[in-house]
Amino acid sequence: MTELLEVRNLSKRFATRAGREPSPWIIRDLSFSVADGEFLTIVGPSGGGKTTLLNMIAQIDTASGGEIIFQSKQAPLNDKKSLKPGLNCQIGYVTQEDNLLPWRTCLENVLFPLMAQGRLTEETRERAQSLIRAVGLAGWETHYPHELSGGMRKRTSLIRTLVYDPPVILMDEPFGALDAQTRAQLQEDLLRLWNLGRKTIVFVTHDITEAIALADRTLVLTRQPSKVAGEHVITIPRPRDMRDVVTQPEFIDIYRRIRAQVQ
């Protein structure tokens, strides 16, 4: 597998306000890489700069040092003006909140990126419809976000990113706010969809079980300032069943090792 995305010595601290102590490093000398088609999960303590890391990769926040290399090209990181959010639709981002547009129906929300990119065709519409069916939203297309449950909004926001097929998808604890049942279902949906297209996914979570169950490889981050504390290749065979992945013999072993590294 070739490296698609590489993060080298990335550092971040927020601007210091006048008359205050210099603000602490959130991320310091963080390096890792992601291969094409890999499902990478990142676990770390809450408030450990995981969202900040994804924001920098997504090009919506600047870095204080280091570089991000995407498809062998260096991404602009130094000042707000030169940032290119999403790097010309190459990087999709499923954020913690669903960020659905309240004035658009479920289907219109899913179609939004296609419309914005001028790619609304018979074919892409059909793709949107099949994604809607795949996550069980059929029949809800004309409902507005406030008429959907939390799980359905999450699904809508997930397929809104999948629909335009970016090579890399970042996910920031997308299932954090859901109940266990819905969560397991969405994880399965995600794996099924991933299996069809084998996108590169960088999935951030604080839930170790989720991190192991989904991933090809899991990175563990330290407390602030964030660094890589450990790396674990997950050998549990695919396809995996979310409900009994925890009973796999390898699972317990990996879980213990990761648990020891997460402070």
Binding site: I60, C89, T105, A116, Q117, Q185
Partner: protein
């Protein structure tokens, strides 16, 4: 995975309409009760104090019917309404557009802010004599006063709407490859519409009130002129007739804004908690 079944839409809608209709009828009934009570108080006062001070409900109604039949009321009312509509549009449209133009120019917004705040706070009534001096006693001075009133109300509510927008929605759109113009059209504008409407809803009665006040000061036509003339003749009932006409115009205008808003903002969740309880 389990399939999620959408609610049977047709049934749901029908049930809601039936329930909603009952609720609306109940509300109409209660509104009627309030009206009857007010008229009863009015009647009581007129019996207590004599017709001279308050007129009587029935006498007012008779004069109202007379005024409508003669066409006099309609002639004056249409003059006032024309002033209000022109002023409302001339003041409201630029006020709703300007904040969008200024969105990318925070410096300019900050520079003109004191002027805007001043204009918003200036007592409009005190400006009426100036406008009459500048624009004469015709329709122009009334329109100028209304424009001045409406503009600042709508400007600040639109500006507030643009500022209240969740920046995460804009970020999402940028990530999805939306251009600046797509963001303006599909994110910023729809997000600000509820706030624009809030401004228009406040500005609408102001524009009618502004027209009447301007006519009170100096005019030879309009409902305000009617009030002025009749009060000088100690025609209390006549004043009440004109006031009833003003109330009716405000009522119609409010209804228009409401139905337009309802049509454009179908996507909003029912925000009125008391309405849901009915």
């Amino acid at each position: 995975m389990t399939t999620l079944t959408p609610p049977a839409q047709a049934d749901g809608a029908a049930a809601m309409t039936r329930g909603g209709l009952l609720a609306i009828l109940a509300r109409k009934r209660d509104q009627l009760v309030v009206l009857v009570v007010l008229i009863a108080i009015w009647q009581g006062l007129s019996m207590l104090l004599g017709n001279y001070w308050t007129g009587t409900p029935w006498g007012t109604f008779e004069r109202l019917a007379e005024g409508i039949a003669e066409g006099e009321l309609l002639r004056h009312a249409s003059y006032t309404v024309a002033e209000a509509i022109i002023g409302f549009l001339v003041g409201g449209i630029p006020a709703a557009v300007l904040p969008f133009l200024l969105r990318r120019l925070p410096m300019v917004t900050a520079i003109i802010d004191p002027v805007m705040v001043g204009g918003y706070g200036a007592p409009k009534l005190a400006l009426a004599p100036l406008f009459i001096l500048w624009f004469g006693i015709g329709i122009e001075s009334k329109i100028a006063l209304i424009v001045f009133t409406v503009f600042f109300v709508v400007y600040f509510s639109t500006l507030g709407g643009i500022r209240a927008l969740d920046p995460k929605l804009v970020q999402m759109a940028q990530m999805a490859g939306a251009s600046e113009s797509t963001i303006a059209r599909h994110i910023i504008f729809p997000g600000a519409v509820p706030h624009i409407f809030a401004g228009l809803r406040i500005a609408m009665p102001y524009s009618i009130g502004g027209a009447v006040v301007a006519e009170l000061i100096s005019a030879n036509r309009g409902l305000g002129y009617m009030i002025q003339l009749r009060s000088m003749n100690f025609d209390t009932t006549g004043v009440f007739v004109a006031l009833a006409a003003v109330c009716f115009v405000v009522f119609i205008a409010n209804w228009t804004v409401n139905s337009l808003e309802h049509r454009l903002l179908r996507w909003r969740p029912p925000a009125d908690v008391t309405a849901q309880k009915e």
